[in-house]
């Protein structure tokens, strides 16, 4: 039988289409790595406020008269925009100054313009101006900690206010959520001051702080409600996971979530590569039997001293071997190209994952991680490949046998989503909610309630056996029609 398998592999790999697929895969991998790298650089050298924008605002201003009541609001708004732009144009968009100008200084500028042109309140204007000048000095002195301390003060007063409110109304859940958000902000500012992490997004730590604040904030906001659906629960878990991964980096001075590493690109690209492997498997499996029948070469195969069952199973095994070869080739290429683009040294870094079973961080080697992921995705490849193979054997129609499984694969997420939102419990006996075992990794909860890893493996095995038996029976019974 090994001879049969070898022959099938020779047939598969001497096709021109395999070379074409190989080239496409290579282009995709190179493209993925280079684009990821380029996108990192682009965001670092870009200023939102250009001279032409300021000129445009100047023109707008010259058309408006601050003394006309109909123009006054528009005038103040445009003038504030111009003042902010003039102040920010010297700083990169990712710099801490740009962020501080956007969040802290621009409200003050608006306030000052309001006092000057609308309220005509000189006293208030002077007070604002003092604050503004102080900030300008801090900006010039590169003193971002000034702003951090200001923010901390502000948060502390808000927390005090909120605490008095809660003391009066201890049952109010909204207030408690607000308090949690404020405490998160306080934690973030303290983190900045302790770890010397400036505002802006020009370095990894600053980005990590922003992301931690965003994901944790989302988590606090969304977990407030009761009676959460499964869908919402998995969304919240996603926030918690992300927040904890960034938190880990911040408190341990690591850079695991840094996107500019070969490791990260590797992890990020897995979804794309899985889709490619599925395509390759489906194409190879979908033409496996039907092409031999359509081109008449099956007669050549069936008059050999081997039983039809053996011939069929050899073909299926050849499909699986092709799948393994494709997987290894893709991973190897990504390893080499990723290493060239980002430096092989970054592979030394570990992959961190959030474990939901005890809400802790797990670190593991990139290769162990990839191995784990691909073992968990194996049922997808096997089942989708067997489906294409069975269709090919049953209907002897290559386009159908290729198109249907690919559509099924692309539609599987949609099927799952619809089933979850309509609470169609019986869909759990389908293959689509069960074939991705990575949903059980790191204490993850499956999308469907009431399925377990044992259940999933059983379902996958049942579908596999059904498709295999159908193929064998049909292949054994089939007469070779006259052409």
């Amino acid at each position: 039988m090994s001879k049969l398998i070898k022959n099938e592999l020779v047939k598969i790999f001497s096709k021109k289409s395999m070379i074409v697929i190989g080239v496409i895969i290579l282009v995709i991998i190179i493209g993925f790595n280079v684009l990821n790298k380029v996108s990192q650089n682009v965001s670092n050298s870009y200023s939102a406020y250009s001279e032409s924008y300021i000129q445009y605002l100047d023109e707008e201003l010259s058309n408006l008269d601050p003394n006309k009541p109909s123009d006054i609001n528009k005038y103040v708004e445009t003038k504030s925009q111009k003042d902010v732009a003039t102040l920010a144009k010297d700083y990169k968009e990712t710099s801490w100054q740009a962020e501080v100008i956007g969040t802290v200084i621009s409200p003050i500028i608006e306030e000052m313009n309001n006092y000057e042109y609308i309220d005509k309140n000189n006293e208030a204007l002077t007070a604002s101006k003092t604050k503004y000048d102080e900030m300008l000095i801090a900006l010039k002195n590169e003193d971002w900690k000034y702003f951090a301390n200001k923010e901390l003060e502000n948060i502390n007063t808000q927390i005090e206010d909120l605490n008095t409110l809660i003391a009066q109304d201890s049952e109010n859940e909204d207030l408690k959520t607000q308090l949690k958000s404020l405490e998160l902000q306080k934690e973030v500012v303290n983190l900045r001051l302790d770890k010397n992490i400036n505002y802006g997004s020009d370095n990894y730590k600053s980005i990590a702080v922003q992301n931690y604040r965003m994901y944790m904030g989302n988590y606090i906001q969304s977990s407030q409600g009761k009676n959460l659906t499964d869908e919402e629960k998995s969304e919240i878990n996603g926030y918690l996971e992300k927040a904890n991964l960034y938190k880990y980096d911040l408190y341990n001075d690591t850079k695991y979530q840094n996107t500019a590493t070969a490791n990260y690109t590797f992890q990020n690209s897995i979804g794309t590569y899985i889709a490619i492997i599925v395509m390759v498997v489906v194409i190879v499996a979908g033409v496996s039997i039907s092409e031999e029948f359509n081109k008449g070469t099956v007669k050549l195969l069936l008059v050999r001293p081997y039983s039809r069952t053996k011939i069929l199973i050899s073909k299926l095994i050849a499909v699986f071997i092709t799948m393994l070869i494709t997987t290894v080739a893709i991973l190897l290429l990504q390893f080499i190209i990723g290493g060239i683009v980002y430096g092989f040294g970054t592979y030394m870094m570990n992959v961190v994952q959030f474990d939901f079973t005890n809400n802790s961080i797990v670190t593991l080697n990139i290769f162990a991680y990839l191995g784990l992921i691909f073992v968990c995705k194996l049922p997808i490849f096997i089942l989708i490949g067997t489906l294409a193979f069975a269709l090919s054997t049953l209907f002897l129609n290559s386009p159908l046998a290729v198109a249907l499984p690919i559509l099924g694969y692309m539609g599987s997420d949609v099927i799952n989503m619809i089933a979850i939102s309509y609470k169609w419990d019986w869909v759990k006996y389908f293959v689509t909610p069960n074939w991705d075992l990575s949903q059980y990794l790191f204490g993850g909860t499956p999308m469907f309630s009431g399925i377990s890893i044992e259940f999933s493996i059983t379902i996958c095995a049942i579908y596999f056996v059904i498709m295999l038996v159908a193929s064998i029976v049909s292949f054994k019974k089939r007469n070779i029609k006259n052409v």
């Binding site: 001879k3 049969l4 070898k6 022959n7 001497s14 050549l300 069936l302 008059v303 050999r304 007469n479």
Partner: protein, 275 residues
């Protein structure tokens, strides 16, 4: 059967290819048994098929591979075929110059040769060829015939050849089997068969056909103004000519009427109905 070449003839749609497929186990048998080398094809498929080499319908090969790679694929599946044997067969069918080319670049004749090569590779005892001379030029047909005859004699191989071309078979088959509407009508030695279908018709080309009928007393049909068909034994032909010449009738041509295949079958089978 060993050493025999059996011609298997029948008109289109008579069931030649279907019969061959039944013999090879490519279609399931509803009634009856097929034995090859004493083994039942259904119950003992592997043993039965092991000694068979075949081309069914047309030599369907893997177009995207070279001729050599195609043969290698076949060779892999048998124990007794090595590289030397492949080279030997390639030489035998005369493909040694083009064997490394892709089959898609081959002419139909070359594919036919490669088809024969893959059928012979594992030294089968029974060779089943379905219209093996299709697409070959006259020289190629002759070569194939010589080759098959040699194989039958030297390697003591039994050969089954199907064809709808009677003329093609009669020169080298020693037995003939006729099939009609899926049933074997007759199986006989080629000589007996030939004698049997002889129909003793001669076409005469004369100046005026209407005159001839009034002169001689044989069974005849007037075909055109100048052509006439006479039903006589071979020995009587000189007598007829002599008689006509004596009566001053100009004879331009006398020829034996060739039986077309259809005529032969009509005679033998009373017509084939394609259902």
């Amino acid at each position: 059967m060993e050493g025999d070449i059996l011609g298997f003839i029948g008109p289109n749609g008579a069931g030649k290819t279907t019969t061959i497929k039944l013999i090879l186990g490519l279609q399931s048998i509803t009634s009856g048994k097929v034995y090859i080398n004493g083994y039942d094809i259904e119950e003992n498929f592997k043993k039965a098929i092991e000694n068979v080499g075949t081309i069914v319908e047309s030599p369907d090969l893997y177009m995207y591979m070279s001729g050599y790679e195609n043969l290698k694929l076949v060779a892999n599946l048998y124990k007794n075929v090595d590289k030397k044997r492949i080279d030997e067969i390639v030489k035998l069918v005369g493909l040694e110059n083009r064997i490394k080319d892709k089959v898609s670049k081959y002419s139909l004749g070359m594919r036919q040769r490669l088809g024969i090569a893959q059928a012979l590779l594992h030294r089968p005892k029974l060779l089943i060829l379905d219209e093996p001379t299709n697409g070959l030029d006259p020289e190629g047909i002759k070569e194939v015939k010589v080759l098959l005859k040699k194989l039958a004699e030297q390697e003591n191989m039994a050969i089954l050849i199907s064809s709808h071309n009677l003329a093609e078979l009669d020169t080298f088959c020693n037995k003939i089997s006729i099939i009609k509407n899926g049933e074997i009508v007759e199986t006989n030695d080629i000589d007996a068969f030939k004698k049997d279908i002889k129909n003793n018709c001669y076409i005469l080309e004369v100046e005026d056909s209407s005159v001839v009928g009034s002169i001689v007393d044989y069974k005849m049909d007037i075909l055109t103004e100048t052509e006439i068909r006479v039903y006589i034994e071979k020995e009587q032909v000189p007598l007829l000519i002599k008689e006509l010449v004596l009566r001053n009738i100009k004879i331009y041509n006398v020829s034996e009427e060739n039986l077309s295949l259809e005529d032969a079958f009509l005679k033998k089978t009373g017509g084939n109905v394609i259902e």
